[in-house]
Symmetry: C2
Subunit: 276 residues, 2 copies
């Protein structure tokens, strides 16, 4: 494939764009794939969104996001079943799961992790029926209390491997995993069992933003070595799209076309050379 | 021992206190031990500080800190040799090491970690001669780029175990390790080889502070389960002092006596019951 052949723009990188604006900006840049988010899809309508993306000739690399499995159990199952259906309707191979933090008032990380596993067990049949993979995204440990009690790729795989690889995989997001001394062998492990559902790239910048969620940056602006991580993902056999997903205020405030162009340029320079 | 028998006030919890003010506040609260920092010790003078603490009847639980081993090699060795001598002069059993982040302009975490191990190899003879233990402190992964390329207890032990346990141990600081899915077995591993050099307690609060170093809080104010961590440290055979070390602006701005009192009260309520 040519350079942008596996590049996917994650819609959150241009957060304020509507679904149609995001699709149009992606197509205009010659990018073949997009990672969608549930909220803008819902705003434009599920069927309309699926049609718009299809008519634009784009692949949908993933849908963000399901998860939040550590709180009310029944509500979480309902919400994730809807997200699974949306993933299938959009033609995406995977639903990204941010698993959730500690339940309100709890300090029991071990118990919260058991809730994640138990909820996944009740969702795999739905995923199988829909033909999509649930993708556990380990989040950086600074989000353990409030967003994701799954913090490492190894831990995500320990959970995922309790299920069929067709049903449960993992996300490798450079921002969340680059610090991990065990990351390279865990990427190999994920690939060996066919569980890399998505590879997402963005950088780790300092200082950590006031809203810690917004500390990401364009590849190349921070501290991550994309060569070693990308080589590991490629060596692990991953052949899917590579999403650029950045949450950062000054990027959100910039013109969509400029952001899409910079994202693609950084991918071509820092990621794509190591994919094959 | 009675409740405060193993409690130690880490001097950084009352950062703006001079050495004599910190010692006096510790004694006034009936606390038997203090964790010192090099800067206030240097300000009062090493010999004078050692005498002042000794005359006050306090143990010195640790000296903070050495480390920063990833930059200029010769300068780091010189600085750490001075810190080792100071540790011995103060009668502290351990020198806490913050190992350092990525060298300027580098993204090579693997290489930086090798520098840490190599530098330790050149410092162990000095530590042995001084009769103190070098204590590798794994820092929370949010500090990997700028402060410590050692992020987990398991990783710290992988390095420490390349050396004699008399020379190189690890610090278990609740703030840095609570999120780790592998923390309890790694505490057991550290204890089994006699490598728990220090147990430090403080809480993980949200939101993360604008200066991410200052996100700590009094035990009980955040998300950490002190019972499970403390039980694990006790079961691992640790019998040393338990330091309360908090970096937080509003605590630094409060009267020393109030801070010391609250720290001790939280220790008695949330930590001490699980030490035996």
């Amino acid at each position: 494939m040519s350079a942008p052949g596996r590049f996917s723009l994650n819609q959150a990188t241009i957060k304020y764009a509507s679904l149609t604006e995001a699709v149009d900006a992606t197509v205009a840049a010659g990018i073949p794939s997009i990672g969608l988010w549930r909220e803008p899809v819902a705003e434009f309508g599920l069927a309309a969104s699926a049609a718009y993306v299809r008519d634009a000739g784009l692949r949908v690399s993933s849908l963000c996001r399901g998860g939040f499995l550590t709180g009310d159990h029944a509500a979480a199952l309902d919400e994730n079943r809807r997200a699974i259906e949306e993933t299938a309707a959009l033609g995406a191979p995977a639903l990204v799961l941010v698993v959730g933090g500690l339940p309100a008032g709890s300090r029991d990380l071990v118990g919260a992790r058991e809730r994640v596993r138990d909820a996944l067990g009740e969702l795999t049949a739905d995923a199988r029926a829909a033909g999509i993979q649930l993708a556990i995204e380990p989040l950086h440990p600074m989000y353990v209390a409030d967003r994701a009690v799954v913090s490492t790729l190894g831990q995500a795989l320990d959970i995922a491997e309790q299920f069929d690889a067709r049903d449960v995989g993992v996300v490798v997001d450079t921002f969340h995993v680059f610090w991990d001394p065990d990351v390279l062998p865990q990427i190999a492990r994920a690939g060996a069992s066919g569980r890399i559902a998505s590879y997402q790239v963005c950088d780790w910048n300092l200082p950590i933003a006031t809203d810690a969620l917004l500390s990401r940056g364009y590849p190349g602006d921070g501290f991550i070595d994309f060569e070693s991580l990308t080589r590991a993902v490629a060596a692990a056999g991953y052949e899917g799209d590579v999403e650029c997903e950045i949450f950062r205020q000054d990027i959100w405030d910039a013109p969509y076309g400029e952001v899409v162009g910079t994202s693609l340029a950084r991918y071509r320079e820092l990621v794509e050379p190591y994919l094959s």
